[in-house]
């Protein structure tokens, strides 16, 4: 555990927790402006969180501790990922956990906790959301892991620090066919995992097509605040991961104040830009029918397989 890793382990979660609601705010604002609305302002998600935290916690009758623990577990998984993944510094606070498989599996654990909570309520909506979320998760997993495979083969390791450092040392790799194909596959997967358009619409309630919102219908007060925070954090974490796997420049490699400031700024700019692009793209997209989503994911899986083939045959 190096000094750089410890600094990163403290700075990253603070940055992600504080910044992710703002990222959501920025994305909503961009969308509002493009649609000709004034928008609620960038800080609206934080205001919402403050409001929810002051409200009463309500537990629906007949639910068990699964329902109560799920929001905590959901935030905890994102928090652990925020600590270990090299977002601001190349070293990780807990290096043996900064493994790409471990990180992906941790994020899946959060989704599973929420799906179980949805089932625990015993409502039709909860079950529906859980069922759809698990279907999408099951289909996303192969693409995610094969894309990771393509990225790790060239480095010879699934350690995130190693992957990021290797890209820093050899920038030409970013433009290799394997890397580009993997990037496209990962983008599709991330859109699906974070529940954005065209897979799921984050701004709908009570629509028969909803996935994420259906699972969280019964939550209120601080529990809901945690879930809102967690979904914002998951979005930031996934975008941060995407940014640093393919464009790691600016990340701090030494524990000097200047390098750290640059690292923080680079992450904010990269994730912010990705968020803006995603939001702008969403304006032009409609939600896919649920049973068209597998086709989209199958396409991205094919790209990931091609990425692996390219990494072997074109290397």
């Amino acid at each position: 555990m190096s000094a750089l890793g410890v600094v990163g382990g403290i700075a990253q979660p603070v940055l992600i927790v504080a910044g992710s609601p703002l990222l959501v705010g920025v994305m909503r604002q961009v969308r509002a402006r493009l649609e000709g609305r004034a928008g609620a302002g960038v800080r609206q998600p934080w205001r919402d969180l403050r409001k929810l935290l002051r409200k009463e916690t309500i537990t629906p009758r007949g639910t068990s501790e699964v329902f109560r623990i799920a929001p905590l577990l959901l935030v905890a998984t994102s928090l652990v990922v925020a600590v270990v993944v090299p977002f601001v510094t190349t070293d990780s606070a807990i290096d043996p956990v900064a493994d790409l498989f471990a990180v992906v599996a941790l994020l899946a654990l959060g989704a599973v906790a929420l799906a179980l909570a949805g089932l625990d309520t015993g409502t039709a909506f909860g079950g529906m959301g859980a069922s759809r979320e698990m279907t999408i998760l099951a289909l996303v997993e192969p693409t995610l892991l094969v894309a990771i495979f393509a990225l790790s083969v060239r480095v010879g390791s699934t350690n995130l620090g190693a992957i990021v450092s290797s890209t820093l040392h050899d920038p030409a790799r970013v433009l290799s066919p394997a890397s580009l194909l993997a990037a496209v596959a990962l983008i599709v997967v991330i859109v699906a995992e974070t529940g954005r358009l065209p897979v799921d619409n984050p701004s709908t309630h009570l629509e028969l097509t909803m996935v994420h919102e259906a699972m969280v219908l019964e939550y209120a007060g601080p529990d809901l605040a945690l879930i809102e925070l967690a979904s914002a954090m998951r979005l930031s974490v996934f975008l941060g991961l995407l940014a640093n796997l393919f464009l790691p420049w600016g990340i701090a490699t030494a524990a000097t104040p200047a390098a750290l400031v640059v690292g923080v700024l680079a992450l904010v700019v990269k994730v912010g830009l990705l968020g803006v692009v995603l939001a702008a793209g969403e304006v032009f997209l409609a939600k896919l029918r649920l049973f068209r989503v597998p086709e989209l994911l199958a396409g991205s899986f094919l790209l990931a397989l091609l990425a692996v083939a390219a990494s072997y045959f074109l290397a």
Binding site: R54, K55, E56, T57, I58, T59, P60, R61, G62, S64, V66, I69, L72, T77, L79, V80, V83, V84, I94, P96, V97, D99, F101, A102, A105, L106, A108, A115, L116, L119, D120, T121, G122, T123, A124, G127, A130, S131, M134, T135, L137, A138, E141, P142, L145, V146, F149, S152, V153, G156, S157, T158, N159, A162, L217, P222, L290, V308, Y312, A315
Partner: protein, 668 residues
Amino acid sequence: MNLAATGLACAVAIGVLTALAALVVPARSAVVGVGTVLSGAAAMLAGCAAMSGVSFVVALPALLPLSGMLFTLDALGGLFVAVTGAVAVAVGVYGISYTRAPDLRARGVQAVLPLFVVAMVLVPAAASAGAFLVCWELMALFSLLLVVAEHRRRPEVASAGRWYAVMTHLGFLSVLIGLMVFVARAGDDSFSALRDSARHLSPLVAGVVFVLALLGFASKAGIVPLHAWLPRAHPEAPSHVSALMSAAMVNLGVYGLVRVGFDLLGGGPVWWWLLVLVLGAVSAVYGILQAAMSTDLKRLLGQSTTENMGLVLVGVGAAGLFASSGNRTLAGLALVAALLHVVGHAAFKTLLFLAAGSVLHATGTRDLDELGGLRPVMPVTTAAFGLGALAASALPPGTAFVSEWLLLQALIHGLPASGVAAAVAMPVAVAAVALTAGLAVATFVKAFGVGFLAKPRSAAAAGAHESPVTMLAGMGIAAVACAVLALAPAVVLPGIEAAARVAGDPAVSGAVTLRLTGVTGALSPVLLGLALIVAVVALAGVVRVVATHRVRREARLWDCGGGPMSPRMEYTATSFAEPLQRVFDDVVQPELDVDVTHHEESRYLVRAVEYRRKVPDRIERRLYQPVLRFVATCGERGRVLATGSVHRYLGYGFYTVCGLLLLLAVTR
């Protein structure tokens, strides 16, 4: 006599004595339970001693005419003996009160259980083909007797028993022929003689031996397409027997494959291992896909056994591929991953089957669509199943996560290391493992979420009660094993590495952090678990400080203003799996049947809708039905020969003997 020999002898002696005692003592359940626990514990001790390097050889020439019996215990056999013993301990404790049910209390059924454990312990200890085949057959027979234990109460048990009997004996036949071909070339049936002669085998003979052995062992491990018996027999057997079969017996198929493939034949060409890898990948995906559609709790667990054995075979196949290209480090890593998955699977499948048995005991149903709402009435069973589901779904901090991580590491590092065959096989294997992992998550979320949470979907589930304390203790033992394997796999890794030496070099080191040797890679399951716990506790503290209202208020569910929600409005296992079923429509080809009845006044008004769905096993239908039809046709035709006349039958006998004599006279 050293520890390994003493332990094994004790295990056998205690098992046999327990079986005898069960025939005479009135308090059978307790005697058999304690005897099974002691026998299992002795086997565990022997296995652990063998893995740490203690070995022995016992020759019993009088036991089997012509060839005699030869027993030994090396690290590989020791690992499987230890796993079987550990499962037997949990099952023995559980069985003390579980077997009080009328059908299971019967003298015969009780006496067979310890004998089944003894047979399973002896299979990996056999050191000659004769001893191996005898123990293998004993194991099959005893398990068959246990599968049909409840045949009086449920007619479907008999059908499951027939399937199991036929499939297991066809598998036995395949192994028998394979080993006999091998023995005929070697001239002696001891494993050491076979090992020595393997170098002189022609590739064709070696290939025949391997494929025949693979067929037999794959059918025991429930590998597609020889899996048809498994989802029938495992659910119909009493639950503690299901646990023994699913967690201990199927492992011996893997043992046989590793023993024959790596140890006796000394590895082989690439195509052997590609075949194993492909069979494994197909089984993993097909097994979990069937499990994802299943609504029968125990059938689902049985299908998940096919999936897990498939993953193990992916590891074994990869190890063979690396070994045949000379990369002993990666071969070691892949085999360690496979064997760790065997151990982990034994732990969580024991736990899951015992928990399912507890549910069956309390509610009388295995149908997930009728369960639910067990959390308030069966808290311990719910927690046990939850832990098992986490362990089975390859999520951190679960048991299968560590072994699947190791497996993926082996596959990733294998791509640059070996030839074109591997370059095609590895990405596909990774994709199969990944799809399996994703579907396993969905499957176990369904099993746990629908089966245990929410509101009860039937009167049986509503009237459930927690199981007796010994059943809970049995689950507790399995749960502790799961937790230890998930957080501190380093406890068992030295033993597994010793066993994996048949294929490659030691590959993993470290206690807190598992570090791969030879290739880069590190993972610390315990730090991961700790980080999660710390994060959850810290968050709970922060929320308590920040939130102004501290008291939780209960309120009714949001019901769209339509009155209280009824259990009929809940999602069921069928509806939960519906999206997946649609996505994999072409693969599973479900049979759907929708009947709509209309009101008499208008056909626009619907009175009732009836929806029936069946997901038949497609491979079974394509592969088994034609064979069964053919056999049935042959039987029908053959009836012409059997007219009932004794003279005719005597005539058949006479002409057959004449024919044989002629054949002998001509060929000699």
